[in-house]
Protein backbone atom coordinates (compact mmCIF):
# COMPACT_ATOMS: atom_id res chain seq x y z
CA UNK A 1 0.00 0.00 0.00
CA UNK A 2 2.82 2.43 -0.66
CA UNK A 3 2.23 3.07 -4.34
CA UNK A 4 2.22 6.80 -5.00
CA UNK A 5 -0.88 8.10 -6.76
CA UNK A 6 -0.22 11.84 -6.72
CA UNK A 7 3.11 13.55 -6.36
CA UNK A 8 3.55 17.32 -6.56
CA UNK A 9 6.94 19.02 -6.49
CA UNK A 10 7.28 22.80 -6.16
CA UNK A 11 3.92 23.17 -7.82
CA UNK A 12 2.88 26.79 -8.45
CA UNK A 13 -0.05 28.33 -10.23
CA UNK A 14 -0.50 32.04 -10.89
CA UNK A 15 -3.73 33.45 -12.29
CA UNK A 16 -3.13 36.55 -14.38
CA UNK A 17 -5.93 38.97 -13.59
CA UNK A 18 -6.41 42.51 -14.81
CA UNK A 19 -5.18 44.23 -11.63
CA UNK A 20 -2.63 41.88 -10.05
CA UNK A 21 -1.45 38.29 -10.48
CA UNK A 22 -3.03 35.93 -7.95
CA UNK A 23 -0.76 33.25 -6.50
CA UNK A 24 -3.28 30.45 -6.13
CA UNK A 25 -0.59 27.85 -5.41
CA UNK A 26 2.95 28.49 -4.30
CA UNK A 27 5.60 25.74 -4.28
CA UNK A 28 3.35 22.97 -3.06
CA UNK A 29 5.07 19.65 -2.28
CA UNK A 30 2.80 16.73 -1.59
CA UNK A 31 2.53 12.98 -1.96
CA UNK A 32 -0.64 10.94 -1.85
CA UNK A 33 -0.36 7.18 -1.49
CA UNK A 34 -2.74 4.61 -2.83
CA UNK A 35 -5.68 4.05 -0.51
CA UNK A 36 -5.18 7.35 1.34
CA UNK A 37 -8.09 9.54 2.31
CA UNK A 38 -6.59 13.02 2.08
CA UNK A 39 -8.45 16.14 3.17
CA UNK A 40 -7.46 19.61 2.08
CA UNK A 41 -8.55 22.24 4.55
CA UNK A 42 -8.08 26.00 4.68
CA UNK A 43 -9.91 29.28 4.33
CA UNK A 44 -11.30 30.29 0.96
CA UNK A 45 -8.62 31.41 -1.45
CA UNK A 46 -6.02 29.02 -0.08
CA UNK A 47 -5.85 27.09 -3.33
CA UNK A 48 -7.31 23.80 -2.09
CA UNK A 49 -9.85 23.65 -4.89
CA UNK A 50 -7.24 24.85 -7.39
CA UNK A 51 -4.95 22.01 -6.34
CA UNK A 52 -7.75 19.51 -6.92
CA UNK A 53 -8.47 21.07 -10.31
CA UNK A 54 -4.78 20.79 -11.25
CA UNK A 55 -4.87 17.08 -10.43
CA UNK A 56 -7.99 16.81 -12.62
CA UNK A 57 -6.34 18.73 -15.49
CA UNK A 58 -8.98 21.44 -15.23
CA UNK A 59 -6.21 24.00 -14.54
CA UNK A 60 -2.64 24.05 -15.81
CA UNK A 61 0.15 24.73 -13.29
CA UNK A 62 2.46 27.66 -14.04
CA UNK A 63 5.58 25.88 -12.79
CA UNK A 64 6.64 22.79 -10.90
CA UNK A 65 5.82 19.18 -11.52
CA UNK A 66 2.81 17.04 -10.81
CA UNK A 67 2.26 13.39 -11.63
CA UNK A 68 -0.98 11.45 -11.32
CA UNK A 69 -0.49 7.68 -11.43
CA UNK A 70 3.01 8.43 -12.67
CA UNK A 71 1.85 10.38 -15.72
CA UNK A 72 0.81 13.99 -16.39
CA UNK A 73 -2.69 15.07 -15.31
CA UNK A 74 -3.70 15.34 -18.96
CA UNK A 75 -2.69 11.78 -19.69
CA UNK A 76 -4.40 10.64 -16.50
CA UNK A 77 -7.58 12.45 -17.48
CA UNK A 78 -7.53 10.91 -20.93
CA UNK A 79 -7.06 7.50 -19.32
CA UNK A 80 -10.12 8.35 -17.20
CA UNK A 81 -8.12 7.81 -14.03
CA UNK A 82 -10.35 9.73 -11.65
CA UNK A 83 -13.93 10.57 -10.79
CA UNK A 84 -14.71 14.17 -9.85
CA UNK A 85 -17.47 15.27 -7.49
CA UNK A 86 -18.34 18.96 -7.65
CA UNK A 87 -19.54 21.22 -4.88
CA UNK A 88 -23.00 21.24 -6.43
CA UNK A 89 -24.32 17.93 -7.64
CA UNK A 90 -24.66 19.38 -11.16
CA UNK A 91 -26.89 16.57 -12.30
CA UNK A 92 -28.46 17.11 -15.69
CA UNK A 93 -32.07 18.07 -14.96
CA UNK A 94 -33.40 16.40 -18.11
CA UNK A 95 -31.97 13.01 -17.16
CA UNK A 96 -33.35 10.60 -14.58
CA UNK A 97 -31.03 9.58 -11.73
CA UNK A 98 -30.26 6.35 -13.55
CA UNK A 99 -29.46 8.21 -16.78
CA UNK A 100 -27.30 10.73 -14.92
CA UNK A 101 -25.20 7.94 -13.46
CA UNK A 102 -25.03 6.33 -16.90
CA UNK A 103 -23.75 9.56 -18.52
CA UNK A 104 -19.98 8.88 -18.15
CA UNK A 105 -20.55 5.27 -19.20
CA UNK A 106 -22.35 6.38 -22.37
CA UNK A 107 -19.52 8.77 -23.17
CA UNK A 108 -16.89 6.11 -22.55
CA UNK A 109 -18.69 3.71 -24.84
CA UNK A 110 -19.73 0.93 -22.50
CA UNK A 111 -22.19 -1.66 -23.79
CA UNK A 112 -25.85 -1.41 -22.88
CA UNK A 113 -25.75 -4.37 -20.49
CA UNK A 114 -22.58 -3.10 -18.82
CA UNK A 115 -24.14 0.35 -18.36
CA UNK A 116 -27.20 -1.17 -16.72
CA UNK A 117 -25.14 -3.29 -14.38
CA UNK A 118 -22.67 -0.57 -13.39
CA UNK A 119 -25.40 2.01 -12.88
CA UNK A 120 -27.21 -0.35 -10.56
CA UNK A 121 -24.01 -1.19 -8.65
CA UNK A 122 -23.11 2.47 -8.17
CA UNK A 123 -26.58 3.39 -7.00
CA UNK A 124 -26.47 0.52 -4.52
CA UNK A 125 -23.13 1.80 -3.19
CA UNK A 126 -24.67 5.16 -2.29
CA UNK A 127 -27.96 3.62 -1.09
CA UNK A 128 -30.06 5.11 -3.87
CA UNK A 129 -31.56 1.88 -5.21
CA UNK A 130 -35.23 2.48 -5.97
CA UNK A 131 -34.73 6.06 -7.17
CA UNK A 132 -33.57 5.16 -10.68
CA UNK A 133 -36.53 6.71 -12.49
CA UNK A 134 -36.73 9.90 -10.46
CA UNK A 135 -35.61 13.24 -11.83
CA UNK A 136 -33.06 15.28 -9.84
CA UNK A 137 -35.61 17.88 -8.73
CA UNK A 138 -37.64 15.13 -7.10
CA UNK A 139 -34.72 14.36 -4.73
CA UNK A 140 -33.39 16.18 -1.65
CA UNK A 141 -30.02 17.96 -1.77
CA UNK A 142 -28.28 15.12 0.08
CA UNK A 143 -29.71 12.52 -2.27
CA UNK A 144 -28.68 14.58 -5.30
CA UNK A 145 -25.12 14.73 -4.00
CA UNK A 146 -25.17 10.96 -3.43
CA UNK A 147 -26.32 10.51 -7.01
CA UNK A 148 -23.43 12.64 -8.18
CA UNK A 149 -21.05 10.47 -6.14
CA UNK A 150 -22.59 7.40 -7.77
CA UNK A 151 -21.94 9.00 -11.15
CA UNK A 152 -18.26 9.47 -10.28
CA UNK A 153 -18.02 5.84 -9.12
CA UNK A 154 -19.75 4.34 -12.14
CA UNK A 155 -16.67 3.89 -14.30
CA UNK A 156 -14.63 2.58 -11.39
CA UNK A 157 -11.67 4.96 -11.39
CA UNK A 158 -9.27 4.32 -8.50
CA UNK A 159 -9.02 7.98 -7.60
CA UNK A 160 -11.91 10.07 -6.34
CA UNK A 161 -11.58 13.88 -6.26
CA UNK A 162 -14.24 15.61 -4.17
CA UNK A 163 -14.56 19.38 -4.03
CA UNK A 164 -16.55 20.34 -0.93
CA UNK A 165 -19.23 17.84 -1.87
CA UNK A 166 -21.22 18.30 1.33
CA UNK A 167 -20.59 22.03 1.78
CA UNK A 168 -24.11 23.04 0.84
CA UNK A 169 -25.85 20.49 3.07
CA UNK A 170 -27.06 20.84 6.64
CA UNK A 171 -25.04 19.24 9.43
CA UNK A 172 -27.33 16.28 10.12
CA UNK A 173 -27.31 15.20 6.48
CA UNK A 174 -23.60 15.86 6.33
CA UNK A 175 -22.84 13.57 9.31
CA UNK A 176 -24.86 10.86 7.69
CA UNK A 177 -23.13 11.22 4.33
CA UNK A 178 -19.68 11.32 5.97
CA UNK A 179 -20.40 7.99 7.59
CA UNK A 180 -21.58 6.54 4.32
CA UNK A 181 -18.53 7.90 2.53
CA UNK A 182 -16.21 6.17 4.98
CA UNK A 183 -18.03 2.88 4.47
CA UNK A 184 -17.79 3.36 0.74
CA UNK A 185 -14.08 4.10 0.95
CA UNK A 186 -13.51 0.97 3.00
CA UNK A 187 -15.45 -1.21 0.58
CA UNK A 188 -13.91 0.16 -2.63
CA UNK A 189 -10.32 0.82 -1.46
CA UNK A 190 -10.21 4.00 -3.53
CA UNK A 191 -7.84 6.89 -3.04
CA UNK A 192 -9.85 9.98 -2.10
CA UNK A 193 -8.85 13.64 -2.21
CA UNK A 194 -11.43 15.66 -0.32
CA UNK A 195 -11.63 19.44 -0.14
CA UNK A 196 -13.47 20.89 2.84
CA UNK A 197 -13.60 23.88 5.13
CA UNK A 198 -14.95 21.95 8.08
CA UNK A 199 -12.35 20.91 10.65
CA UNK A 200 -14.39 18.12 12.15
CA UNK A 201 -15.24 16.73 8.74
CA UNK A 202 -11.57 16.69 7.76
CA UNK A 203 -10.46 15.00 10.99
CA UNK A 204 -13.30 12.51 10.98
CA UNK A 205 -12.74 11.33 7.42
CA UNK A 206 -9.04 11.49 6.70
CA UNK A 207 -5.93 9.41 7.04
CA UNK A 208 -4.02 12.54 6.09
CA UNK A 209 -4.96 16.18 6.55
CA UNK A 210 -3.34 18.90 4.49
CA UNK A 211 -3.69 22.34 6.08
CA UNK A 212 -3.38 25.22 3.64
CA UNK A 213 -3.24 29.01 3.88
CA UNK A 214 -4.11 31.74 1.42
CA UNK A 215 -2.23 34.42 -0.53
CA UNK A 216 -0.08 32.74 -1.70
CA UNK A 217 -1.78 29.35 -1.45
CA UNK A 218 0.61 26.97 0.27
CA UNK A 219 0.77 23.95 2.55
CA UNK A 220 1.20 24.82 6.25
CA UNK A 221 1.01 21.39 7.80
CA UNK A 222 0.47 17.78 6.82
CA UNK A 223 -1.02 15.64 9.59
CA UNK A 224 -1.03 11.84 9.47
CA UNK A 225 -4.08 10.80 11.44
CA UNK A 226 -3.55 8.15 14.14
CA UNK A 227 -7.28 7.39 14.28
CA UNK A 228 -8.25 3.78 13.53
CA UNK A 229 -9.90 2.90 10.23
CA UNK A 230 -13.09 1.95 12.00
CA UNK A 231 -14.69 5.28 12.96
CA UNK A 232 -18.09 5.50 14.62
CA UNK A 233 -19.53 9.03 14.78
CA UNK A 234 -18.81 9.32 18.53
CA UNK A 235 -15.07 9.02 17.88
CA UNK A 236 -15.39 12.79 17.57
CA UNK A 237 -15.76 12.96 21.36
CA UNK A 238 -12.39 11.22 21.94
CA UNK A 239 -9.21 12.95 23.11
CA UNK A 240 -7.25 11.80 20.06
CA UNK A 241 -9.80 13.41 17.78
CA UNK A 242 -9.64 16.64 19.76
CA UNK A 243 -5.84 16.68 19.62
CA UNK A 244 -5.81 16.42 15.84
CA UNK A 245 -8.55 19.04 15.50
CA UNK A 246 -6.49 21.29 17.76
CA UNK A 247 -3.42 20.85 15.56
CA UNK A 248 -5.46 21.65 12.46
CA UNK A 249 -6.82 24.76 14.13
CA UNK A 250 -3.30 25.83 15.15
CA UNK A 251 -2.17 25.41 11.56
CA UNK A 252 -5.06 27.47 10.23
CA UNK A 253 -4.34 30.21 12.78
CA UNK A 254 -0.64 30.28 11.87
CA UNK A 255 -1.61 30.64 8.23
CA UNK A 256 -3.91 33.51 8.94
CA UNK A 257 -1.32 35.57 10.88
CA UNK A 258 0.54 36.13 7.61
CA UNK A 259 -2.55 37.78 6.28
CA UNK A 260 -2.55 40.74 8.70
Amino acid sequence: MSEIVISAKKLSLVFETSDAPVHALSEVDLEVKKGDFVSFIGPSGCGKTTFLRVIADLEKPTSGEILVNGVTPEQARKARAYGYVFQHASLYPWRTIEKNVALPLEIMGYSRDEILKRTQDSLNLVNLAGFEKKYPWQLSGGMQQRASIARSLAFDADLLLMDEPFGALDEIVRDHLNQQLLQLWERTHKTICFVTHSISEAVYLSTKIVVMSPRPGRVIDVIESPLPKERPLDIRESDEFRDIAHRVREGLRAGQSYDD
Binding site: H88, S90, Y92, L103, I107, Y135
Partner: protein, 297 residues
Protein backbone atom coordinates in the same frame (compact mmCIF):
# COMPACT_ATOMS: atom_id res chain seq x y z
CA UNK B 1 -51.65 25.54 -17.37
CA UNK B 2 -54.24 27.65 -15.67
CA UNK B 3 -56.22 28.60 -18.71
CA UNK B 4 -59.36 29.15 -16.64
CA UNK B 5 -57.76 31.95 -14.69
CA UNK B 6 -56.94 33.79 -17.92
CA UNK B 7 -60.38 33.59 -19.51
CA UNK B 8 -62.04 36.56 -17.84
CA UNK B 9 -59.17 39.06 -18.30
CA UNK B 10 -58.75 38.01 -21.94
CA UNK B 11 -62.49 38.34 -22.62
CA UNK B 12 -62.57 41.76 -20.97
CA UNK B 13 -59.84 43.05 -23.25
CA UNK B 14 -61.61 41.51 -26.25
CA UNK B 15 -64.83 43.36 -25.41
CA UNK B 16 -62.91 46.61 -25.04
CA UNK B 17 -61.21 46.10 -28.41
CA UNK B 18 -64.51 45.34 -30.17
CA UNK B 19 -66.11 48.41 -28.60
CA UNK B 20 -63.26 50.65 -29.79
CA UNK B 21 -63.55 49.04 -33.21
CA UNK B 22 -67.24 49.92 -33.58
CA UNK B 23 -66.71 53.48 -32.38
CA UNK B 24 -63.94 53.82 -34.95
CA UNK B 25 -66.19 52.38 -37.66
CA UNK B 26 -68.79 55.07 -37.07
CA UNK B 27 -66.19 57.81 -36.77
CA UNK B 28 -64.22 56.86 -39.92
CA UNK B 29 -67.19 55.99 -42.15
CA UNK B 30 -69.43 58.92 -41.14
CA UNK B 31 -67.92 61.52 -43.52
CA UNK B 32 -68.96 59.35 -46.49
CA UNK B 33 -72.57 59.16 -45.24
CA UNK B 34 -72.81 62.94 -44.69
CA UNK B 35 -71.28 63.46 -48.11
CA UNK B 36 -73.86 61.18 -49.73
CA UNK B 37 -76.69 62.95 -47.95
CA UNK B 38 -75.41 66.36 -48.96
CA UNK B 39 -75.17 65.33 -52.61
CA UNK B 40 -78.71 64.02 -52.50
CA UNK B 41 -79.66 67.38 -51.02
CA UNK B 42 -81.08 65.85 -47.85
CA UNK B 43 -80.25 65.63 -44.16
CA UNK B 44 -79.44 62.30 -42.52
CA UNK B 45 -80.58 61.32 -39.03
CA UNK B 46 -77.82 60.33 -36.59
CA UNK B 47 -79.39 56.91 -35.95
CA UNK B 48 -79.68 56.24 -39.68
CA UNK B 49 -76.10 57.38 -40.22
CA UNK B 50 -74.76 55.01 -37.55
CA UNK B 51 -76.76 52.16 -39.08
CA UNK B 52 -75.43 52.93 -42.56
CA UNK B 53 -71.76 53.08 -41.47
CA UNK B 54 -72.04 49.41 -40.41
CA UNK B 55 -72.92 48.15 -43.85
CA UNK B 56 -71.13 50.26 -46.47
CA UNK B 57 -69.92 48.44 -49.58
CA UNK B 58 -66.47 49.99 -49.46
CA UNK B 59 -66.02 51.30 -45.95
CA UNK B 60 -62.86 53.02 -44.79
CA UNK B 61 -62.98 50.65 -41.86
CA UNK B 62 -65.30 47.65 -42.16
CA UNK B 63 -67.21 46.58 -39.06
CA UNK B 64 -66.46 43.35 -37.26
CA UNK B 65 -69.61 41.59 -38.42
CA UNK B 66 -68.85 42.50 -42.04
CA UNK B 67 -65.36 41.05 -41.77
CA UNK B 68 -66.52 37.89 -40.07
CA UNK B 69 -69.42 37.26 -42.41
CA UNK B 70 -66.96 37.71 -45.31
CA UNK B 71 -64.62 35.19 -43.67
CA UNK B 72 -67.58 32.85 -43.13
CA UNK B 73 -68.70 33.21 -46.75
CA UNK B 74 -65.25 32.65 -48.19
CA UNK B 75 -64.22 29.73 -46.01
CA UNK B 76 -67.12 27.57 -44.84
CA UNK B 77 -69.53 28.41 -47.65
CA UNK B 78 -67.04 28.29 -50.53
CA UNK B 79 -65.60 25.20 -52.11
CA UNK B 80 -61.93 24.87 -51.19
CA UNK B 81 -60.99 24.53 -54.86
CA UNK B 82 -62.53 27.92 -55.67
CA UNK B 83 -60.12 30.77 -56.35
CA UNK B 84 -62.23 32.92 -54.05
CA UNK B 85 -61.95 30.56 -51.11
CA UNK B 86 -59.82 31.92 -48.30
CA UNK B 87 -59.01 28.36 -47.29
CA UNK B 88 -57.35 27.91 -50.69
CA UNK B 89 -55.42 31.16 -50.33
CA UNK B 90 -54.48 30.39 -46.73
CA UNK B 91 -53.15 27.00 -47.83
CA UNK B 92 -51.00 28.62 -50.53
CA UNK B 93 -49.48 30.95 -47.94
CA UNK B 94 -49.23 28.23 -45.30
CA UNK B 95 -47.32 25.84 -47.56
CA UNK B 96 -44.76 28.56 -48.33
CA UNK B 97 -44.60 29.43 -44.62
CA UNK B 98 -43.94 25.86 -43.57
CA UNK B 99 -41.32 25.21 -46.23
CA UNK B 100 -39.53 28.48 -45.40
CA UNK B 101 -39.80 27.80 -41.68
CA UNK B 102 -38.32 24.34 -42.10
CA UNK B 103 -35.42 25.62 -44.19
CA UNK B 104 -34.88 28.57 -41.84
CA UNK B 105 -34.86 26.35 -38.76
CA UNK B 106 -32.39 23.87 -40.22
CA UNK B 107 -30.16 26.63 -41.57
CA UNK B 108 -30.35 28.56 -38.30
CA UNK B 109 -29.52 25.52 -36.17
CA UNK B 110 -26.57 24.53 -38.36
CA UNK B 111 -25.30 28.10 -38.33
CA UNK B 112 -25.60 28.41 -34.55
CA UNK B 113 -23.78 25.12 -33.97
CA UNK B 114 -20.88 26.24 -36.16
CA UNK B 115 -20.79 29.66 -34.51
CA UNK B 116 -20.56 28.09 -31.05
CA UNK B 117 -17.81 25.69 -32.11
CA UNK B 118 -15.69 27.95 -34.26
CA UNK B 119 -14.22 31.23 -33.09
CA UNK B 120 -13.64 32.45 -36.64
CA UNK B 121 -17.29 31.80 -37.51
CA UNK B 122 -18.36 33.61 -34.36
CA UNK B 123 -16.30 36.67 -35.25
CA UNK B 124 -17.04 36.73 -38.97
CA UNK B 125 -20.57 35.44 -39.45
CA UNK B 126 -22.43 36.80 -36.44
CA UNK B 127 -22.17 40.48 -37.50
CA UNK B 128 -23.50 39.56 -40.95
CA UNK B 129 -26.38 37.64 -39.46
CA UNK B 130 -27.38 40.76 -37.59
CA UNK B 131 -26.80 43.02 -40.59
CA UNK B 132 -29.00 40.80 -42.74
CA UNK B 133 -32.00 41.78 -40.64
CA UNK B 134 -31.43 45.51 -40.95
CA UNK B 135 -32.24 45.35 -44.67
CA UNK B 136 -35.94 46.02 -45.20
CA UNK B 137 -37.52 42.80 -46.41
CA UNK B 138 -39.95 44.69 -48.66
CA UNK B 139 -37.01 46.05 -50.63
CA UNK B 140 -35.15 42.80 -51.00
CA UNK B 141 -38.09 40.46 -51.60
CA UNK B 142 -38.79 41.42 -55.27
CA UNK B 143 -35.08 41.15 -56.07
CA UNK B 144 -34.79 37.68 -54.60
CA UNK B 145 -37.91 36.56 -56.48
CA UNK B 146 -36.69 38.03 -59.79
CA UNK B 147 -33.14 36.69 -59.44
CA UNK B 148 -34.32 33.22 -58.49
CA UNK B 149 -36.80 33.22 -61.35
CA UNK B 150 -33.99 34.13 -63.73
CA UNK B 151 -31.96 31.09 -62.68
CA UNK B 152 -34.91 28.76 -62.97
CA UNK B 153 -36.47 28.60 -59.52
CA UNK B 154 -40.21 29.05 -59.69
CA UNK B 155 -43.28 28.42 -57.60
CA UNK B 156 -42.87 27.69 -53.92
CA UNK B 157 -39.10 27.87 -53.57
CA UNK B 158 -38.40 31.58 -54.22
CA UNK B 159 -41.20 32.62 -51.88
CA UNK B 160 -40.04 30.15 -49.25
CA UNK B 161 -36.60 31.76 -49.39
CA UNK B 162 -38.08 35.03 -48.16
CA UNK B 163 -39.61 33.15 -45.24
CA UNK B 164 -36.27 31.46 -44.60
CA UNK B 165 -34.56 34.83 -44.65
CA UNK B 166 -36.80 36.14 -41.90
CA UNK B 167 -37.06 32.98 -39.81
CA UNK B 168 -33.42 31.85 -39.54
CA UNK B 169 -32.45 34.96 -37.58
CA UNK B 170 -34.33 34.36 -34.32
CA UNK B 171 -33.20 30.73 -34.43
CA UNK B 172 -29.51 31.66 -34.75
CA UNK B 173 -29.66 34.26 -31.99
CA UNK B 174 -31.66 32.02 -29.65
CA UNK B 175 -29.66 28.87 -30.31
CA UNK B 176 -26.25 30.53 -29.95
CA UNK B 177 -27.40 31.63 -26.52
CA UNK B 178 -28.95 28.25 -25.76
CA UNK B 179 -25.93 26.21 -26.82
CA UNK B 180 -23.77 28.43 -24.63
CA UNK B 181 -26.09 28.16 -21.63
CA UNK B 182 -24.40 25.20 -19.82
CA UNK B 183 -22.42 26.50 -16.84
CA UNK B 184 -18.72 25.96 -16.25
CA UNK B 185 -19.25 23.07 -13.82
CA UNK B 186 -21.30 21.15 -16.39
CA UNK B 187 -18.61 21.70 -19.02
CA UNK B 188 -15.86 20.74 -16.55
CA UNK B 189 -17.73 17.54 -15.81
CA UNK B 190 -17.74 16.60 -19.49
CA UNK B 191 -14.06 17.54 -19.66
CA UNK B 192 -13.18 15.12 -16.83
CA UNK B 193 -14.77 12.31 -18.88
CA UNK B 194 -12.52 13.30 -21.80
CA UNK B 195 -15.62 13.64 -23.97
CA UNK B 196 -15.44 14.73 -27.58
CA UNK B 197 -16.93 17.96 -28.89
CA UNK B 198 -19.82 16.14 -30.49
CA UNK B 199 -20.57 14.30 -27.24
CA UNK B 200 -20.62 17.63 -25.40
CA UNK B 201 -22.93 18.99 -28.09
CA UNK B 202 -25.48 16.17 -28.07
CA UNK B 203 -25.38 15.22 -24.40
CA UNK B 204 -25.08 18.68 -22.85
CA UNK B 205 -25.41 21.69 -25.14
CA UNK B 206 -28.34 20.46 -27.22
CA UNK B 207 -30.60 19.42 -24.31
CA UNK B 208 -29.70 22.63 -22.43
CA UNK B 209 -30.77 24.71 -25.41
CA UNK B 210 -34.32 23.31 -25.72
CA UNK B 211 -36.12 26.18 -23.92
CA UNK B 212 -34.23 28.66 -26.14
CA UNK B 213 -35.00 26.65 -29.26
CA UNK B 214 -38.74 26.65 -28.73
CA UNK B 215 -38.89 30.32 -27.82
CA UNK B 216 -37.03 31.03 -31.07
CA UNK B 217 -39.26 28.69 -33.06
CA UNK B 218 -42.34 30.59 -31.93
CA UNK B 219 -40.88 33.89 -33.12
CA UNK B 220 -39.54 32.27 -36.29
CA UNK B 221 -42.82 30.66 -37.34
CA UNK B 222 -44.63 33.99 -37.07
CA UNK B 223 -41.83 35.75 -38.97
CA UNK B 224 -41.99 33.03 -41.59
CA UNK B 225 -45.69 33.77 -42.21
CA UNK B 226 -44.92 37.46 -42.59
CA UNK B 227 -42.21 36.50 -45.08
CA UNK B 228 -44.61 34.34 -47.08
CA UNK B 229 -47.17 37.17 -47.28
CA UNK B 230 -44.55 39.73 -48.29
CA UNK B 231 -43.19 37.30 -50.90
CA UNK B 232 -46.59 37.10 -52.59
CA UNK B 233 -46.77 40.83 -53.23
CA UNK B 234 -44.17 41.06 -56.03
CA UNK B 235 -45.20 37.80 -57.71
CA UNK B 236 -48.06 39.45 -59.51
CA UNK B 237 -50.56 38.65 -56.80
CA UNK B 238 -51.85 35.33 -58.10
CA UNK B 239 -52.75 33.45 -54.96
CA UNK B 240 -52.23 33.54 -51.22
CA UNK B 241 -53.30 35.77 -48.37
CA UNK B 242 -50.82 38.46 -49.41
CA UNK B 243 -52.25 38.39 -52.92
CA UNK B 244 -55.77 38.80 -51.51
CA UNK B 245 -54.66 41.83 -49.52
CA UNK B 246 -52.96 43.35 -52.55
CA UNK B 247 -55.94 42.72 -54.84
CA UNK B 248 -58.21 44.14 -52.17
CA UNK B 249 -56.19 47.32 -51.98
CA UNK B 250 -56.22 47.71 -55.79
CA UNK B 251 -60.00 47.65 -55.90
CA UNK B 252 -60.70 49.34 -52.58
CA UNK B 253 -62.15 46.12 -51.17
CA UNK B 254 -61.42 46.86 -47.54
CA UNK B 255 -63.60 44.01 -46.34
CA UNK B 256 -61.49 41.61 -48.37
CA UNK B 257 -58.25 43.07 -47.00
CA UNK B 258 -59.44 42.81 -43.44
CA UNK B 259 -60.74 39.28 -43.80
CA UNK B 260 -57.43 38.15 -45.33
CA UNK B 261 -55.66 39.93 -42.46
CA UNK B 262 -57.75 38.12 -39.87
CA UNK B 263 -57.21 34.74 -41.50
CA UNK B 264 -53.47 35.44 -41.54
CA UNK B 265 -53.61 36.27 -37.82
CA UNK B 266 -55.57 33.10 -37.11
CA UNK B 267 -53.05 31.01 -39.08
CA UNK B 268 -50.18 32.67 -37.18
CA UNK B 269 -51.83 32.01 -33.84
CA UNK B 270 -52.43 28.40 -34.86
CA UNK B 271 -48.79 27.92 -35.82
CA UNK B 272 -47.54 29.45 -32.57
CA UNK B 273 -49.92 27.23 -30.58
CA UNK B 274 -48.66 24.13 -32.42
CA UNK B 275 -45.05 25.04 -31.60
CA UNK B 276 -46.14 25.58 -27.98
CA UNK B 277 -47.72 22.12 -27.86
CA UNK B 278 -44.54 20.60 -29.31
CA UNK B 279 -42.58 22.46 -26.62
CA UNK B 280 -44.73 20.99 -23.87
CA UNK B 281 -44.35 17.50 -25.30
CA UNK B 282 -40.56 17.87 -25.34
CA UNK B 283 -40.54 19.27 -21.79
CA UNK B 284 -42.61 16.31 -20.67
CA UNK B 285 -40.20 13.87 -22.25
CA UNK B 286 -37.33 15.68 -20.51
CA UNK B 287 -39.13 15.38 -17.18
CA UNK B 288 -39.40 19.14 -16.77
CA UNK B 289 -43.08 19.86 -17.06
CA UNK B 290 -43.93 19.88 -13.37
CA UNK B 291 -40.98 22.02 -12.34
CA UNK B 292 -41.61 24.81 -14.82
CA UNK B 293 -44.93 26.46 -15.40
CA UNK B 294 -45.43 25.61 -19.04
CA UNK B 295 -48.28 27.31 -20.84
CA UNK B 296 -49.30 26.71 -24.42
CA UNK B 297 -48.48 30.16 -25.68
Amino acid sequence: MTRDGKLIPVLTILIVIVAIWYVAVVWLNAPFEYDQAERAGSKIEFNQMVKNTMSQKRPVLPSAHQVFSEIWNTTILKKITSKRSLVYHAWVTLSVTLLGFLMGSIFGIILSISIVHNKAMDKSVMPWVITSQTIPILAIAPMIIVVLNAIGFQGLIPKAFISTYLSFFPIVVGMVKGLRSPDQAQLDLMHTYNSSKSQILWKLRWPSSMPYLFTSLKVAVAASLVGAIVAELPTGAVAGLGARMLAGSYYGQTVQIWSALFVAAIVAAGLVIIVGIAHNMVLKRMGQLDSQAGGVS
